[in-house]
């Protein structure tokens, strides 16, 4: 799993490339730190190249979202593939996340 984070004005764009499985979720705890620190801004999680998410991956997304809520920013998920969307559905997180195309 590679994560590329770029800044553009008030927006932070994070591209998730690869499977966000249990192993990956453990490896990226430090990589997502800047997202948590900038949670007062607009954070876009680009999921186009992420074909898989496990419960530990979901936990990372939920952690960012919690921080964003606390700091008054906002978070969007971009281009979520059907498999991952299905996982959101099973965990009733489909409406919790702001999913855009």
């Amino acid at each position: 799993m590679d994560i590329t984070i770029t800044e553009e004005g008030n927006t932070i764009n994070a591209v998730f490339d690869g499977r966000l499985d249990t192993v990956a979720a453990q490896q990226i705890t430090e990589t997502v730190e800047p997202l948590l620190q900038n949670a007062g801004r607009t954070i876009i999680l680009d999921c186009e190249k992420m074909p898989f998410i496990s419960s530990s991956g979901l936990r990372i997304f939920l952690k960012i979202r919690k921080e964003v809520e606390a700091k008054g920013g906002n978070m969007q998920l971009r281009k979520v593939c059907p498999e991952v969307r299905q996982v959101f559905k099973m965990t009733k997180l489909e409406d919790v996340f702001d999913i855009i195309e």
Partner: protein
């Protein structure tokens, strides 16, 4: 230019009036304006009953002409025609009634026959259901990893005289395939008896020769119609994978080893039901992973095409040579397809029964991981390989991957105490209607199914982070069971194989 005045005498007028006979018994009268009767009714008018009079004042002459007609005359013509129509109608009604009566009578008789036929048909359908319910449960192979077994039975009529059965007890697979002489209901009855005898006699005996001997004694003992059964009976020890078998006059099965198919070299013993004292002997066969014993009844080899040619043993062998590493289910499908193509629309004349007993090359479908989270990276390639080798629906891969990842991560992270080395084994297996996964570890007894599941129906803020994994497992898998057996946590999960679109 002149004027002709015709003056006719009163007498002439009277005779004209009298001569007017519009109806047989009618007459006319003529009365002048001062009520003088110029022409009166005839002396003896032949009018009986009611009469009708029609009067007309003749303009300018002050004369009234009256026509008197008896009613009977007036309506006579009408009556005659209505009588005719009535007659025609009556004939028609009678004809219709006659025809209807005849056909109702026929329908009545036909209906009685139909009801009787329906009754027999219903009973046969019930008999068919009962017979089908004697067939072994499809779920068996899900419970034993080393075994891949599949049977198929297509009776030629509602019910048939073929039988096959298998079950496992004490780590042994007991199986049989047979053919009762004759077809239809009598054969089906004997088949049901033979089936229950097999189950009863093999409950406490796992030597095929003695089961066969007892079966033969029971069937021969009281067999007034001299019906007989050919039966192949085998017992496979699942720990040694050695098959001991006994053949009572049945078609030799095909053994498929390393993709090569050949007929099992067996000396058949006497058919069941002929000689009470017949002796039976057993032979042995060592099974290696991937080997298949393919059994059938003569409905396969004697299947006829429209040219009256038989499918034959050679064609059966050729079809079996193509099986390669196919699962038992696919082998049955392929053989059925081969015979279907050969028969080419001809009506099925005999019961067809196939049974494939395959020893699963389990090693290929087992994944052993140490309790290091990075080991989970080996899961996806393993599943991809398993899906490819079994030609499974790839759309199931992603969710199965997720469920297994969650279950394995759970074991790796929590089953063993911190710093202690441990292992977890995943065994993947394909059953007829499900993909079966078993996760086994020697860690602390822990039932993940009793773990607090995430409550997803409360607002996100109130949700507990955690419990999502077990929720996903339950959501994805169709069946999940946990047991603690011989020092192992055993989590069994099944994902149903939906039919491909």
């Amino acid at each position: 230019m002149g004027l002709i005045i015709a003056d006719i005498t009163l007498d002439t007028l009277a005779s004209i009036v009298r001569s007017v006979k519009l109806y047989p018994h009618s007459y006319c009268t003529l009365v002048s304006g001062d009520d003088t009767v110029l022409v009166g009714p005839p002396a003896n008018p032949k009018t009986k009953g009611k009469t009708h009079a029609f009067s007309e004042i003749i303009d300018g002459k002050n004369l009234t002409l009256t026509l008197v007609v008896p009613e009977s005359d007036m309506y006579q013509r009408l009556r005659r025609s209505s009588l005719f129509f009535a007659l025609v109608a009556l004939t028609g009604v009678f004809t219709v009634f006659f025809i209807s009566f005849r056909s109702i009578q026929h329908l009545w008789q036909l209906n009685e026959v139909r009801i009787k036929e329906q009754h027999i048909e219903d009973e046969l359908a019930i008999a068919r259901n009962i017979q089908q319910s004697l067939l072994p449960s499809e779920k068996l192979s899900a419970t034993v990893n080393t075994l891949d077994i599949k049977g198929l039975q297509i009776p030629a009529k509602f019910v048939g005289g073929d039988l096959y059965d298998y079950y496992i007890r004490d780590n042994k697979l007991l199986f049989c395939i047979g053919d009762v002489s004759g077809k239809g209901v009598p054969a089906a009855l004997l088949m049901a008896i033979a089936h229950s005898l097999f189950r009863t006699l093999s409950a406490h005996d796992d030597r095929p020769e003695s089961i066969m001997q007892a079966l033969n004694a029971s069937i021969s003992d009281n067999n007034p119609d001299i019906m007989f059964i050919t039966l192949f009976l085998g017992v496979m020890d699942l720990s040694t994978s050695i098959v001991r078998y006994c053949n009572a006059g049945h078609n030799p099965p095909i053994i498929i080893k390393d993709g090569r198919a050949e007929y099992l070299d067996t000396e058949p013993s006497l058919l069941l039901g002929v000689d009470v004292k017949a002796k039976y002997t057993a032979d042995e066969l060592a099974f290696s992973p991937g080997d298949t014993l393919f059994l059938y009844t003569d409905g396969l080899t004697e299947a006829e095409n429209p040219q009256k040619e038989l499918f034959g043993e050679q064609r059966a062998l050729e079809a079996a040579s193509q099986f390669g590493t196919l699962t038992a289910e696919k082998q049955i499908e392929q053989m059925q397809q081969a015979v279907h193509v050969f028969v080419n629309q001809a009506e099925q004349s005999d019961d067809l029964t196939l049974l494939a007993v395959r020893y699963n090359p389990v090693a290929g479908f087992t994944l052993t991981l140490t309790n290091d989270i990075n080991e989970l990276n080996r899961l996806e390639p393993f599943l991809e390989d398993f899906f490819n080798k079994n030609s499974l629906d790839p759309s199931l891969l992603s969710s199965l991957d997720l469920a297994l990842e969650e279950a394995l991560a759970n074991v790796i992270m929590y089953a063993y105490p911190e710093g202690e080395k441990g292992e977890v084994t995943l065994t993947a297996n394909v059953a007829d209607n499900a993909i079966c996964m078993e996760i086994k570890d020697k860690g602390m007894p822990f039932n993940p199914l009793q773990q607090q599941e995430a409550n997803l129906d409360v607002p996100l803020k109130e949700r507990q982070i955690g419990g999502l994994g077990i929720h996903l497992i339950k959501e994805i898998m169709d069946e999940v069971t946990y047991a603690y057996e011989n020092g192992h946590n055993v989590l069994q999960m099944q994902l149903y194989r939906k039919p491909l679109p």
